[in-house]
């Protein structure tokens, strides 16, 4: 699970500072998918950056799977990302020289026991299993240039699950896909969240996906508020 308590993040803006996240609190439990929607510049990406430990907030606490990330230094946060946080990028951000299966096993190379032959073999087995789960078992040895946009995004999702993360942070995964492929990716994320028991934060610009999520929040000017009037949501 992930818990953000009263998080504020500011950035320098000339001689003053601009508030990107303003006293935001958010709790996502295991197996839940929480959506965040908001206009461009509302602070969604900044919130994701804080939730994924890429940046430390000015104030407030971030707790991931029982570890207070805001107490950690840079190396400690990198370690936390390697072991407990899965990141699904907006662009698939695949490394051009690696095959699909290597995009996943590269995360194992970032851990301390990467040199163990057994650890490498286990990582490859898990990578192939995850590629199978996202429907790419037959494309494991293809490079990004040989995959379609939807397939690349599936590899992106599978890579995020490689380290058995407690938290999945997903940044507008459908922005570069057509409607049908976008819906397939959301289906995939919801299924994998349930199957892997991750706490998933999903930033999206498409309201049509919100009814399918556990809860949804809107973000405006850095302030986060729960959406109670999601069209199509149960009870709305």
């Amino acid at each position: 699970m992930i818990d953000l308590q009263d998080v504020t993040l500011t950035f320098p803006d000339g001689t003053s500072r601009i508030t990107a996240v303003d006293h935001a609190s958010l709790h996502v439990g295991a197996g839940e998918t929480v959506g965040i929607i908001g206009p461009s510049g509302s602070g969604k990406s900044s919130l994701l950056a804080v939730a994924s430990t890429l940046i430390a907030p000015d104030s407030g606490t971030v707790t991931i799977d029982g570890v207070v990330a805001t107490d950690l230094d840079l190396a400690g946060r990198a370690e936390l990302r390697r072991t407990r946080v899965g990141l699904v990028f907006q662009q698939s951000n695949l490394l051009s020289s690696l095959t699909a299966v290597e995009q996943l096993t590269v995360t194992n190379e970032l851990t301390t026991d990467r040199r163990r032959r057994s650890a490498r073999a286990a990582a490859r087995r898990r990578a192939l299993q995850l590629l199978d789960e996202v429907g790419l078992a037959a494309d494991a040895d293809k490079r990004p240039a040989q995959l379609s946009g939807g397939q690349r995004q599936r590899v992106n999702v599978a890579r995020a699950l490689m380290s058995r993360p407690a938290v999945l942070v997903v940044d507008e995964p459908t922005s570069a896909l057509d409607q049908e492929r976008g819906a397939q990716i959301i289906d995939l994320l919801l299924r994998l969240t349930a199957e892997h028991g991750t706490a998933t934060i999903l930033v999206t610009h498409e309201p049509r996906f919100l009814p399918r999520l556990t809860t949804a929040h809107s973000m405006v000017d850095g302030r986060l508020s729960e959406q109670s009037d999601r069209p199509g949501a149960p009870g709305s």
């Binding site: 190396a75 990198a78 936390l80 995360t107 970032l110 940044d171």
Partner: protein, 354 residues
């Protein structure tokens, strides 16, 4: 090295190009090193093979003389021989002369006496030639050759021995004194003294004898052609070392800039600066080892061919050592260039920045 190896395999053309450049520079450096070694060999091998700790020069107008104009006296040799700690003083005459035999002639550096000169240094009327000089004059041991106003018997032929790009011929000190004498002037005693000593006070000996002495290797600076020639060639080698570091550094600087998005993703996934720097330097090391290795192999081949026509020394000092220096400098250049990796912000992996 996980990503580095795969980058190397995926971008073969790009890495082959930089490897070829490293190979080319290595060939230039090592070939120039081999030529430098060859020229040095032809300049000083007769001096460096002297069995002496110290070379004593005469002093003219308060300035130490060079090998070309030094002229020590018998008194100075006696003064040095009497000093505590001095175990041997060998007068050595050095001059240039022409040897003729059967219509053929060769210009040689004539060494009279001195240590390690063999029997020819003590047997008047004999001369020891290098094998190359003997072949050029078409003479054998026992044949007669003509030097100045004397006929000398070829005593023996030896391996190469060079002084100032001339093959060395050894004669006794007495013969040298006779041959080096100028008309109307007294015969010189010797050019320099080759001194062997243990715990001797060289400064005090110089003061007592009115001479200037230097260690054997330091004394090579008193050979004008050596300092100017080696200085120029070494400067070229040093410049090539600098160019190699710059070229490798520039390549990895551009490569690091191109890799920034990938580095941001890897950092976002939890890679540390240490891991990424190790990966990048490992990549540079692989290229350098491959490029330098290929360059040394080419030089070894060229050197083996050129060795018969050019003064060329093929040894670990002229190949492996410059190769090692190039690798270290290249890595230093790559290290500076890939330092930008540590400044990549993983935040740029988020959003649509890529």
């Amino acid at each position: 090295m996980f990503v580095a190896w795969r980058d190397l395999k995926a971008a073969k053309g790009r890495f082959a190009l930089i490897t070829a450049v490293v190979t080319l520079i290595t060939v230039l450096v090592t070939f120039l090193g081999g030529l430098t070694g060859g020229l040095v060999e032809q300049n000083i091998s007769a001096l460096t093979s002297l069995d002496a700790d110290r070379i004593v020069f005469s002093v003219t107008d308060g300035e130490p003389s060079t090998y070309a104009d030094s002229a020590v006296t018998e008194d100075q040799a006696s003064t040095w021989a009497r000093r505590d700690g001095v175990t041997a003083v060998e007068p050595l005459g050095i001059s240039t002369t022409r040897i003729t035999a059967g219509g053929r002639q060769q210009t040689v550096a004539l060494f009279g006496g001195g240590p390690a000169a063999g029997d020819a240094a003590t047997r008047s009327g004999h001369v020891a030639l290098t094998a190359r000089t003997a072949a050029a004059l078409d003479v054998q041991p026992g044949d007669r050759v003509h030097l100045g106003d004397r006929d000398l018997v070829v005593d023996a032929t030896r391996g190469d021995s060079w002084y100032s790009h001339l093959a060395v011929a050894h004669v006794s000190l007495g013969d040298w004194q006779h041959l080096a004498a100028r008309p109307g002037e007294p015969a010189p005693f010797a050019s320099v003294l080759a001194v062997s000593a243990r715990d001797a006070d060289y400064a005090a000996a110089d003061a007592a004898a009115g001479t200037s002495s230097q260690g054997l290797l330091t004394s090579l600076t008193a050979l004008g052609s050596f300092t100017s020639e080696v200085g120029s060639l070494l400067l070229m080698v040093l410049m090539l070392f600098g160019i190699s570091a710059l070229v490798v550094g520039a390549f990895f600087a551009v490569w690091s800039i191109q890799r920034r998005p990938d580095v941001a993703v890897l950092k976002a996934l939890g890679a540390t600066d240490r891991m990424l720097t190790f990966d990048a330097l490992g990549q540079a090391a692989a290229l350098l080892v491959l490029g330098v290795g290929a360059g040394i192999a080419v030089t070894a081949g060229l050197g083996a061919l050129a060795g018969t026509a050019l003064p060329f020394v093929l040894s670990s000092v002229t190949t492996l050592l410059p190769g090692l220096v190039m690798t270290v400098l290249g890595l230093a250049g790559a290290g500076v260039a890939t330092r930008s990796i540590t400044h990549v912000d993983p935040l740029t992996a988020l959003g649509s920045n890529r």
